[in-house]
């Protein structure tokens, strides 16, 4: 079975939601669209307070090439542009839209479906850009940028990342089971862009049903050869570098980007969005969100309009089973802890998890006993115990020598540490300090 070196095996916690079909959640009265839901420059609003908007209408233009457009996920009226809380805990500019409850769509969606094979690669990428697609696995990197590597790149692998190695998350799994056609079409479009005849979908072997379903769908899919690659279940199998290594045997050099190894990797929901954008004229206005965690009363998979507040989603699902102590956006290994539920669903919100006191609590840190477990599991071959120490001492020189920039913040080290050291916290904090120091130096 294909895999990578290192990694950990956290408890999956997927049973609660894995076999629950995706439920479509009706949008709330008010939706919030942060101008920055992606890596890169914030989007620039192209509507004003009082404007009427249709479902799928563009409300903000990309603020540059590395940026993404925004679309209204409902029809209604623009209430204004205000500072609201972003899931990352900061106040940011958001477009507020009042839902008229009619879901009147933009006229384009009733146009006949496009045949992507008649489009040039450039046209496909432009459609992706227009649709505001970003990496929906969590990173939020604009997809059209990913699909536009420099001309010297030779891409020979397009890989759909179906690893979904984070505990609790089952949204990608459900898409594979329920929406395999869209997924395959999306992949075929990416293959078309790079003129490839073979495409890959990598799935962890703890999802035999998804492997089965995708194999069947791929066999019946006409016009493109799509290979399903089962991978060993291990975290962080879905990390780009580790996935590329497992599927192709290639290892990215330090600091290298996937295209430099001839690879383009995309997340499941992202690829499905590509199909919807190119074939069905639909921009990104919804995403699949897993609701889970031991404090959630009814864990399930929702199809949610972008802009829907988390508090509304949780309330609609039935609230809590026990008092929540910690909220996460995304999975427990790399997800973001929330300070408020009054934040909107953004394009990269893969899950909302509510943890009870017992699972949110950490044991106290003890001194490092040099057991080396962190070093065995680090997928980037780093020495997390030394990084931890150097970070606490603000020893920037040592941190560079220990290659802190290689750290993908996967959390494997802190997960495994018997002394309960919070290496990743130290690494993240000191990375910020390093950035600041560099900025000052320039």
């Amino acid at each position: 079975m294909k895999t990578f070196h290192g990694g950990v095996h956290p408890h999956g916690h997927k049973d609660a939601t894995a076999e629950k079909p995706i439920v479509t959640l009706a949008p709330p009265k008010e939706l919030i669209f942060p101008l920055s839901q992606h890596i890169g420059a914030p989007a620039v609003p192209c509507v004003q307070a009082g404007d009427a908007v249709l479902m799928g209408q563009k409300i903000a233009e990309a603020g540059g090439f590395v940026s993404a457009t925004l679309h209204s996920s409902v029809s209604g009226t623009v209430k204004g542009i205000e500072k609201r809380m972003h899931p990352n805990g900061t106040l940011t500019d958001c477009i507020i839209i009042e839902n008229d409850g009619l879901d009147t769509p933009i006229p384009e969606v009733s146009l006949p479906e496009r045949d992507f094979r008649k489009l040039s690669p450039k046209e496909c990428i432009d459609l992706v850009q227009e649709a505001g697609i970003v990496g929906m696995g969590g990173a939020g990197f604009p997809t059209h940028v990913k699909l536009s590597p420099p001309p010297e790149a030779t891409i020979d692998y397009v890989i759909v990342n179906g690893a979904e190695c984070e505990p609790y998350l089952t949204s990608d799994y459900r898409v594979m089971l329920e929406n395999s056609q869209e997924l395959l079409t999306g992949l075929a479009i990416m293959m078309h862009i790079f003129d490839l005849s073979v495409g890959y979908i990598a799935i962890e072997d703890n999802k035999p049903k998804a492997i089965e379903a995708m194999k069947k769908a791929a066999a019946e899919f006409s016009g493109a050869e799509i290979r399903i690659v089962p991978l060993k279940t291990k975290y962080p199998q879905g990390s780009e570098k580790q996935l590329i290594n497992a599927v192709t045997g290639r290892k990215l050099k330090p600091g290298a980007l996937p295209w430099q190894a001839g690879c383009i990797v995309s997340n499941i929901d992202t690829v499905a969005s590509i199909a919807r954008a190119v074939v069905k004229h639909q921009p990104v206005i919804r995403r699949i969100v897993t609701l889970g965690g031991d404090a959630m009363k009814n864990p399930l998979n929702y199809s949610v309009r972008i802009g829907t507040p988390f508090s509304y989603i949780v309330e609609q699902s039935g609230g809590f089973a026990q008092p929540p102590k910690k909220f996460l956006m995304g999975g427990p290994m790399m997800g973001l802890a929330l300070s408020s539920l009054d934040v909107p669903t953004i394009k990269s919100s893969s899950a909302i998890l509510a943890l009870s006191e017992s699972s949110a609590k950490f044991e106290e840190e003890s001194p490092c006993v040099r057991c080396a477990k962190c070093l065995y599991v680090c997928p980037m071959n780093l020495q997390p115990n030394l990084l931890d120490k150097a970070a606490r001492n603000n020893d920037f020189e040592a941190l560079e020598k220990l290659h802190i920039s290689d750290c993908i913040e996967c959390g494997s080290c802190a997960y495994i540490c018997p002394a309960k050291r919070r290496q990743v916290q130290q690494i993240r904090v000191v990375k910020g300090k390093l950035r600041n120091a560099k900025a000052k130096g320039n």
Binding site: P10, P167, K241, G249, R250, K251, L252, K253, P254, A256, Q260, A261, G262, P323, K325, K326, L328, P332, M333, M334, G335, A337, L338, S339, S340, L355, A360, K361, F362, E363, S366, P367, C368, V369, R370, C371, A372, L375, Y376, P379, M380, N381, L382, Q383, N385, H403, D406, E409, G411, Y415, I416, C417, P418, A419, K420, R422, V424, Q425, R428, V429
Partner: protein
């Protein structure tokens, strides 16, 4: 915000494994060796072990109380040190000496250097070396198996030669492999029975507390070295199996050369460490003044551990030759 939620950096989950669980595994793994000690040498072995364990725990707690630090004896590391120290003592040792040894292990070797995770020498071995230097006679009198000994009182010197001493003298009558394997021989409390130590070692391997690298490299080096150079009839005639089963080698290889804090943490470093321990053990056993060299070998390698770690830092991901791409 109505309620106080925990906002922290990821990851938000962790293994259940913690230090006290790991130490508990080590304690469990040491029980067969202690039991074997009791069977071979009688109940006094248990008394010595308890003395060491209790004094180690008490010294650690007192020290931490005195310095107003949080008392961490519940991590069980002092218990492990106590058992290991006892395993490295002859059963006839006066109990007050065991207490002093415990003091040295916990206070001098461990706490003076910053406590758990910061000591550079194995506390039990450091204490053994200290006791050996101070009371050589008491530390080298090994009662023969089955001698009846007073439980608490002092023991008259009733010394039996250890298997290694016998081998070094090229004695006529050597213990059989079976007796060596079972531990029916003279020696320290926890080191005589290879069988009991192997059971504990396998338990540690299964529970993933230790990895095979160090014990295998250590034992293989000693076997090779003593086979080549250890014979009385010239090269390649050494009785390597006898050497493996004698003295503190098994105990050292599985329980002391695998100590986290005082041995290298890089995989390559662990290999060098094991080989280094093996080489020094062979040197001392064959050409040194002592018939036994395991503990000095490990202590010496403890000292160079930081250097080994520096020299064997893992290679950065994506920089191995072979599979990289432009």
């Amino acid at each position: 915000m109505e309620e106080k939620w925990i906002v922290s950096h990821p990851p938000h989950v962790a293994t259940k494994d913690n230090l006290s669980r790991i130490m508990l595994h080590v304690v469990i793994a040491l029980l067969p060796a202690v039991l074997a000690g009791c069977l071979v040498f009688g109940l006094r072995a248990l008394i010595v072990t308890l003395t060491c364990v209790i004094s180690c725990v008490v010294f650690e707690a007192l020290w931490q109380k005195l310095l107003k630090k949080p008392v961490t004896v519940s991590d069980l590391s002092a218990v492990v040190t106590g058992i290991l120290l006892a395993c490295n003592l002859p059963v006839s040792i006066p109990l007050w000496m065991a207490v002093i040894g415990s003091f040295f292990a916990i206070i001098v070797v461990k706490q003076f250097f910053g406590g758990l995770g910061h000591n550079f020498m194995n506390p039990a071995l450091g204490a053994r070396a200290f006791l050996l230097a101070s009371w050589a006679l008491a530390m080298t009198s090994f009662p023969a198996p089955g001698t009846s000994l007073p439980l608490f009182g002092s023991v008259d010197a009733v010394s039996a030669a250890t298997p290694l001493a016998l081998y070094a003298e090229n004695a006529e009558q050597l213990p059989t492999y079976l007796n060596l394997f079972l531990g029916n021989i003279g020696g320290c409390i926890g080191e005589t029975s290879a069988l009991a130590i192997l059971i504990g070692g396998i338990y540690l391997l299964i529970t993933k507390v230790i990895r095979l690298r160090v014990p295998v490299c250590f034992l293989a080096t000693v076997a090779l070295g003593t086979w080549i150079f250890g014979g009385h009839e010239g090269w390649f005639t050494g009785d390597w199996l006898y050497q493996l089963l004698s003295g503190g080698l098994m105990l050292g290889a599985f329980f002391m050369a695998t100590d986290y804090t005082t041995t290298p943490f890089t995989p390559k470093g662990q290999i060098y460490f094991g080989i280094g321990c093996g080489i020094i053990t062979v040197l001392i056993r064959l050409w040194g003044g002592y018939p036994e060299g395991t503990s000095y070998a490990i202590l010496l390698m403890n000292i160079v551990t930081p250097l080994i770690d520096k020299a064997t830092a893992p290679r950065r991901y994506g920089t191995k030759f072979g599979k990289e791409v432009a």
